[in-house]
C-alpha cells in the first residue's frame, strides 16, 4: 500500500468514527424527552408544598392533612405524652435515628429531634405511613400510647418512634417549618 492510500484510509476511518459518534449522541439526546416525561409534571410539582393552619389545635388533638398524596399527622401533644417520650432511654429504641427531614441524616431519635424543636416540643409532624409496608397507623393506640399499625402490628410511641413490631424505622418527619405561630408549611 502506498503512502497516499494509507492517509486515505485514516481519513476514512476518522469519518466513520465521527459519523458513528454523532449517531449515538443524537439517539441518546432524542431518547431523553421520552424518559424525562415520566417525572412529575409542573402541576404535580406545584402542589408539592402545602400550608396548614394549626392555631385551633388544642393540646391532645391531632389533624390529618393530605400532602403529596399521603396523610400527614400533625399533633399538639400533651405534657404527659412529651414526658413519656423524653423519659424513654435511647437503648429501648429499635431505630436510633431521628428520621427528621429537617435535621442531618444521622441525628439521634431524641424526643426534641422528633418534634418541631426546642420550645415547640408539643408539636409533632409525621408522614402517616407505616415504615413496614405502607399502611396508615391509627393514632393514640398501641402499647406505647402513640400510633399503632393494624396491618402487621407495629407499635409507635408518642414521638412516633418504632418500639415493637415488624416496622424497621421511625415514622418519617417531612421537611416543614412554622411560617407563623399558627401556620406550618410542609414540603
Amino acid at each position: 500500500m502506498s503512502a497516499t492510500d494509507h492517509s486515505d484510509v485514516t481519513r476514512r476511518d476518522f469519518l466513520y468514527v465521527a459519523t458513528g459518534t454523532a449517531a449515538v449522541v443524537g439517539t441518546a439526546a432524542a431518547a431523553w424527552p421520552f424518559i424525562d416525561q415520566m417525572r412529575p409534571d409542573a402541576s404535580t410539582l406545584a402542589q408539592s408544598s402545602i400550608e396548614v393552619e394549626v392555631g385551633s389545635l388544642q393540646a391532645g388533638s391531632s389533624l390529618v392533612v393530605k400532602w403529596r398524596g399521603k396523610p400527614v399527622f400533625v399533633r399538639n401533644r400533651t405534657p404527659e405524652e412529651i414526658k413519656a417520650a423524653q423519659d424513654t432511654p435511647m437503648a429501648d429504641l429499635k431505630d436510633p435515628i431521628a428520621r427528621n427531614g429537617n435535621l442531618p441524616s444521622d441525628a439521634p431519635a431524641t424526643d426534641v429531634d422528633r418534634s418541631a424543636g426546642k420550645d415547640k416540643e408539643n408539636w409533632i409532624v409525621m408522614v402517616g405511613v407505616c415504615t413496614h409496608l405502607g399502611c396508615v397507623p391509627l393514632g393514640q393506640q398501641g402499647d406505647f400510647g402513640g400510633w399503632f399499625c393494624p396491618c402487621h402490628g407495629s407499635h409507635y410511641d408518642t414521638a412516633g418512634r418504632i418500639r415493637k413490631g415488624p416496622a424497621p424505622m421511625n415514622l418519617e418527619v417531612p421537611v416543614y417549618s412554622f411560617i407563623s405561630d399558627t401556620k406550618i408549611r410542609i414540603g
Binding site: R12, Y16, W32, P33, F34, D36, Q37, M38, R39, D41, A42, S43, T44
Partner: protein
C-alpha cells in the same frame, strides 16, 4: 431474498449456537446486510426506510402520550393541553406526534408516486403493491381516528362527517354508523372506540409492514430502469451501500420534519381544533386533515344523481373507489415496459396526474361553491381516467424507448463521458470499508 441461498457464516461459538436454534442473526444478515440491491437506486427509493422510521416515531411518541391522555369527553381536551403545558417535554412529544402523522403521509405519498412512476407494481410485485395499499388504508383509518382524540371542534365534526359517509350505504348504513359511534352522535363512546382502535391499528400496520418487506425480499427491489437484476454486477450489498444512502435520505427528511415541529408546529393543523368540541355548533368550514383533501374533493365532486344512485352515495362510492382503484393498478397497466423512464407518454400523463392530485388537494380545502365544483369534477374525472382509461390503453398504443440490456449497461451509458473512470472500476465494487 431472491437468491435463496444464505451467505451468513457464524464466526463465534455463540453465533453458531444461536444460529442452530433460532437463526435470527442469519435473517437480519441476509435481509439487511448481504441483500443485493440494484446499484442504480436513486433517492426516491429511500422513502421505504423513511416510512419505517416514521412508523417507529409515531408508535413511540404515541405510547408516551397515552401516559398522560384521558379518553373521556370531559377530560380529553384538557388532558392534551396538560401535556402541552405541564408534562416535561410534553409540547415536543405532542407536536412530534401531530406533525409526525402529516410527515408519515408525505412520505407515503412520495413512496406511492415513486412506485407509480417506475412501475413497481408490475409482475411479480403485485402482492407487494397490494400489501402497500393495505398499509395506506390502515394509515388513513389510524390518522382519522387519531385526529378525533384531542376532542377539538374539527375532531368532533370530522368524525361526524366521516361516520356520516356510512349512512349512504343502503340497508345497513345507519346500523353501521351507530356501531362506529356507539350512539346516535359523536360522543363519549365514539371517543373510547376510536382511542382503542387508534392504539391497535399501528401495530397491525407494523405487522403488514413485515409482510410488505418479506414480499420485497422475495421478489427484490425494482430500479429506475425497470429491468430485473441479471448478474452480480447489477447489484451491491444492502450494507453499507443502501444503508448509508437511506440514512442520508432519512436525515434530510427528519430535518424538514424538525423544522415544522420547532418553528411552525401548527401549520398543518387547523385552528378550530384548539376549541373544544361543541356538538351544537358547527364550524364555518369543516375540512379534514390535508392528507385526505384530494379524496374530500372527490367526495364533493359528485353533486348529481347517477341513475338510481343519489349524489350522497355516489360521492361516497367515488371516494372509496378512488382508493380501491389503486388495488387494481397491477392489472390496469397493460404496458410491457415497467419504468416511465422509457415510456414518454406515460411519463407525461403521470406528471399531469401528480399535478392533478395536488390540485384536487387544494380544491378539497375550498368550499363546494362557484367554479370549484366543476374544477373538482374535472379533476376527479382525470383521476379516474388515468387509472381506468389511460393506463390500459397506453400500453397498447405507446411506443417505448429503446431499453438497455441490463442495469450495468444503463449505468455505464449514463456515466459515459461524465466520469473518467476506467471501465474496470465498475466490475468489482468494494464490499466493505
Amino acid at each position: 431474498m431472491s437468491g435463496g441461498h444464505s451467505t451468513y457464516t457464524p464466526k463465534t461459538g455463540i453465533e453458531r449456537w444461536i444460529d442452530a436454534r433460532m437463526p435470527l442473526p442469519r435473517l437480519v444478515y441476509d435481509s439487511f446486510v448481504a441483500f443485493p440491491v440494484p446499484r442504480n437506486l436513486n433517492y426516491a427509493y429511500t422513502f421505504g426506510g423513511i416510512l419505517a422510521i416514521m412508523l417507529v416515531v409515531q408508535i413511540i411518541t404515541g405510547v408516551v402520550l397515552v401516559m398522560h391522555y384521558a379518553s373521556d369527553t370531559s377530560l380529553a381536551f384538557v388532558s392534551v393541553e396538560k401535556i402541552m403545558r405541564d408534562v416535561n417535554w410534553g409540547w415536543l412529544l405532542r407536536y412530534m406526534h401531530a406533525n409526525g402523522a402529516s410527515f408519515f403521509f408525505i412520505a407515503v405519498y412520495l413512496h406511492i408516486f415513486r412506485g407509480l412512476y417506475y412501475g413497481s407494481y408490475k409482475a411479480p410485485r403485485e402482492l407487494l403493491w397490494i400489501l402497500g395499499c393495505i398499509i395506506y388504508l390502515l394509515m388513513m383509518a389510524t390518522g382519522f381516528m387519531g385526529y378525533v382524540l384531542p376532542w377539538g371542534q374539527m375532531s368532533g365534526w370530522g368524525a361526524t362527517v366521516i361516520t356520516g359517509f356510512f349512512t349512504a350505504i343502503p340497508l345497513v348504513g345507519t346500523w353501521l354508523q351507530q356501531l362506529l359511534l356507539g350512539g346516535f352522535s359523536v360522543d363519549n363512546p365514539t371517543l373510547t372506540h376510536f382511542f382503542s382502535l387508534h392504539y391497535l391499528l399501528p401495530f397491525v400496520i407494523a405487522g403488514v409492514v413485515v409482510l410488505h418487506v418479506w414480499a420485497l425480499h422475495v421478489v427484490g427491489q425494482t430500479n429506475p430502469t425497470g429491468i430485473e437484476i441479471k448478474s452480480k454486477t447489477d447489484t451491491l450489498p444492502f450494507t453499507p451501500y443502501a444503508t448509508v444512502k437511506d440514512a442520508f435520505g432519512m436525515i434530510v427528511f427528519l430535518a424538514v420534519f424538525a423544522y415544522f415541529i420547532f418553528y411552525i408546529p401548527n401549520y398543518l393543523g387547523h385552528p378550530d381544533n384548539y376549541t373544544q368540541f361543541n356538538s351544537l355548533k358547527t364550524p364555518a368550514h369543516i375540512v379534514p386533515e390535508w392528507y385526505f383533501l384530494p379524496f374530500y374533493a372527490i367526495l364533493r365532486a359528485i353533486t348529481f344523481n347517477i341513475g338510481p344512485i343519489d349524489s350522497k352515495l355516489g360521492g361516497v362510492l367515488a371516494m372509496f373507489g378512488a382508493i380501491a382503484v389503486l388495488f387494481f393498478v397491477p392489472w390496469l397497466d397493460t404496458s410491457k415496459v415497467r419504468s416511465a423512464v422509457y415510456r414518454p407518454w406515460y411519463k407525461l400523463f403521470f406528471w399531469i396526474f401528480g399535478i392533478n392530485a395536488v390540485f384536487l388537494g387544494w380544491l378539497g380545502s375550498k368550499p363546494a361553491e362557484g367554479w370549484y365544483i366543476p374544477a373538482m369534477q374535472a379533476s376527479t374525472l382525470y383521476y379516474f381516467a388515468f387509472f381506468l382509461v389511460i393506463m390500459p390503453l397506453l400500453g397498447l398504443f405507446e411506443t417505448p424507448k429503446q431499453l438497455p440490456n441490463s442495469i450495468t449497461e444503463a449505468v455505464l451509458a449514463k456515466n459515459k463521458g461524465a466520469h473518467a473512470h476506467p471501465a474496470g472500476a465498475t466490475a468489482a465494487p468494494e464490499t466493505k470499508g
